[in-house]
Symmetry: C2
Subunit: 438 residues, 2 copies
């Protein structure tokens, strides 16, 4: 089987799979796609062809297929791409209720190897084997569903902000100063200077409320995670929003609205992918309950008396909370001590929150410090050198409005939406401490 180098002069696509319905009965069409499966049952070849829109069943058999097609069928291999001209016939059992009877097949790409694991059933090898040939692995139907949900989720979140007049902004990812102190930063050489990859657009998005009032950004951020877990990656997408003239309680409402809108979008437009991944449970919410940190500690203490006020919430703590709050929930008003310098604090408590689901932290946010003196004091309390933040502090001289916002780990959210326990499954080419390839 050799690929036909001049295929485009021979067969021109007339239809995509998803558009071919029973109305096409007896129509002559041309489709282009890749062979997902090729089975011979007795004297009949059953071929499943996929294009970007989905499957089409192709039948080759004596009596209906020309001799040259019958001969060619013997040579066709899974994963090859082909163009097929033929006649559509109704078949209730096939996808979309139709099958294609080929009259001409042009081979567009050939396979030299059989993939080391079956993409369409059977035991999957561990994720590292699959990531090594990720482009092939992504042909698996569940990977297709994950990535289609991923794209639709990005689109829904973006449209939510755009519809509400937030300006999409693009902040730099190469920075000279560590946002929150400096651990877990990737160092780089920027011409002849040391620089870092950003962990968060925090300071930039805060600055941008001054000219734009309401901003959002969906972009990569980087964290040098020293531990390899199921929910950490080194390169992740951060969904960031920042808004002037609001406080953290307003932000709680905005996230709630965003997630309800997302749920509605996915149920409406991507229901088949949620079903394919058995992932509709998370959609059973219509509000996001909020519990204060103090209340949370009380709830946890009833099951785990060792927890003390001031402790961060461990996996175990979150599991206890999630019994009471089984979907998305907020923990608000955290102790000031654990919060970064830019979060507004009043005594022991901060105007802050985390968004949680089960035992996972998805987002955090809060009211920001908008007064320059207060911000300088906070930097000093945190043992950060205000000189390193001069580029940021200087903006606060010119009428920085009060503001609040949040940052959400997009892949963490996708783990819930796509019902995945390993964050790598929701990334196309994940990066972690041990993986820089492909």
């Amino acid at each position: 089987m050799n690929a036909d180098k001049n295929y485009q002069k021979k067969l021109i696509r007339t239809s995509y799979s998803k558009d071919i319905s029973v109305d096409f009965d007896n129509k002559n069409i041309t489709v282009i796609g890749w062979i997902v499966s090729m089975r011979k049952q007795g004297k009949i070849y059953f071929m499943m062809l996929y294009d970007s829109t989905g499957p089409l069943q192709i039948i080759i058999k004596k009596g209906i297929s020309p001799d040259d097609i019958l001969a060619q069928a013997e040579t066709l291999k899974e994963h090859s791409s082909i163009a097929v001209r033929g006649t559509i016939k109704k078949n209730e059992k096939a996808p979309n209720g139709v099958e294609l009877h080929p009259e001409e097949i042009s081979v567009l790409s050939t396979t030299n190897k059989i993939p080391p694991f079956s993409l369409y059933g059977g035991q999957l090898p561990n994720i590292d084997k699959r990531l090594d040939i990720r482009a092939i692995d992504l042909r698996r139907p569940s990977a297709q569903s994950i990535m289609k949900l991923r794209a639709k989720t990005l689109q829904s979140i973006r449209n939510f902000f755009i519809d509400k007049d937030y300006l999409e902004v693009n902040t730099p990812k190469i920075i000279a100063t560590a946002t929150e102190g400096g651990s877990a930063l990737f160092p780089m050489l920027y011409y002849d200077k040391e620089a870092f990859l950003t962990q968060s657009p925090q300071l930039f998005k805060e600055q941008l409320v001054l000219p734009f009032e309401k901003v959002f950004e969906i972009a990569y951020a980087y964290r040098a995670e020293k531990s390899r877990t199921l929910h950490h990656i080194s390169e992740f997408i951060s969904v960031d929003m920042e808004q002037a003239f609001v406080d953290y309680k307003d932000v709680l409402k905005i996230i709630e609205e965003l997630l309800i809108n997302l749920k509605d979008d996915l149920l409406k437009f991507s229901s088949e992918h949620l079903d394919a991944l058995n992932s509709k449970d998370w959609t059973n919410f219509d509000s996001i309950p909020a519990v204060t940190y103090n209340e949370a500690i009380d709830i946890i203490k009833a099951e785990d008396p060792k927890i003390e006020w001031g402790d961060d919430l461990s996996t175990k703590s979150m599991e206890i909370l999630s019994k009471k709050y089984p979907y998305f929930y907020y923990v608000t008003d955290w102790p000031s001590a654990g919060k970064p310098f830019y979060i507004k604090c009043e005594g022991d408590y901060s105007e802050s929150f985390d968004l949680l689901y089960g035992n996972k932290e998805l987002a955090s946010g809060g009211t920001r410090v908008s007064d320059k003196d207060e911000l300088q004091n906070r930097l000093q309390q945190k043992n950060l050198n205000p000189n390193g933040f001069e580029f940021h502090l200087r903006v606060f001289d010119y009428g920085m409005p009060p503001h609040a916002g949040f940052g959400l780990g997009f892949e963490r959210l996708m783990m819930i939406i796509a019902n995945q326990t390993n964050i790598r499954e929701v990334c196309m080419f994940p990066r972690d401490q041990h993986r820089l390839m492909p």
Copy 2:
């Protein structure tokens, strides 16, 4: 003038500027925004307040304003944020035909300094002075227009692809191998390994046509440009598309459609910003003419006899071409020798194109090599070590379909759309050899 720390309990926004029309005559409303200008003419204060949706004129004068407001007016400074409750009155000369007569003003942020340049008229200092306090600089009306056009352009391009069933993909920006050889890459330390920031998602997007057929990505890419010019930045947004089963001629049509769709969107939704920037000239096109490289050389030779076949097109060469093709134009079928290893070549010519406008290169693309042996040969011809590309080559064993695509420099396009001669003007926080701040 001190900021009121508990403002949110006092005045709740009822309206955004853009929604306040003559229908609001005599209504009592509350707006929140920042003071763009404050002028006293005789005994009348004219204040222009901006929020994220635009301007609102505020009038304070004896006879209509309470005494405490008259006293407060004396203390209000440009750039401060305020909340204002008052009554709307018709005024034909004001923006939207209305003005606000305040009854209560709460100061939300104060200014400690006067910006070193006026944002609303007068001579602007050079761009470096402005970039040092970029967040303030972005309050300038023309910067507002540029950034609103920028966001709308991103949105239009994304929607174009989504409407045509392209899957949005996210490829890694931290890579182990240089895509096209390695010059102009930023090195970084990835845990204990050397890595690089990507110059282009080229290899990843090619791989992703195997599972997804049609993909696009809009994301940062990085290039260590050693020269400081008006049209190079180190961190830029690359608009990338890749598609199976098409060749470069199909891609020419797709870009044409994309740019016509963009022009229509901007004329429809952002006309006021194009007008503000005096930037409608570029919209006078309904097709993108294509000239082959050979034809281009003939055209240039008539004015510049020194040019030879095989030369790249200099600024001067492009200026000659743009006399004949005053808007977007393609130069196609470039000599093979100058093209990267992944571009399909046949003898001296390649299936490639550049998209140009005036003397600027905006995008390039072409049919890609989809055969593994041919790709290996091309790597060797270019003195690249195939071992470094093993992670990429291995995908070609599994039925890599024929494909083509393009990459477009988003900020270059924005220079045309926003009528700017310095690429830094279309970035929020540009990065170049000498600028890593703010």
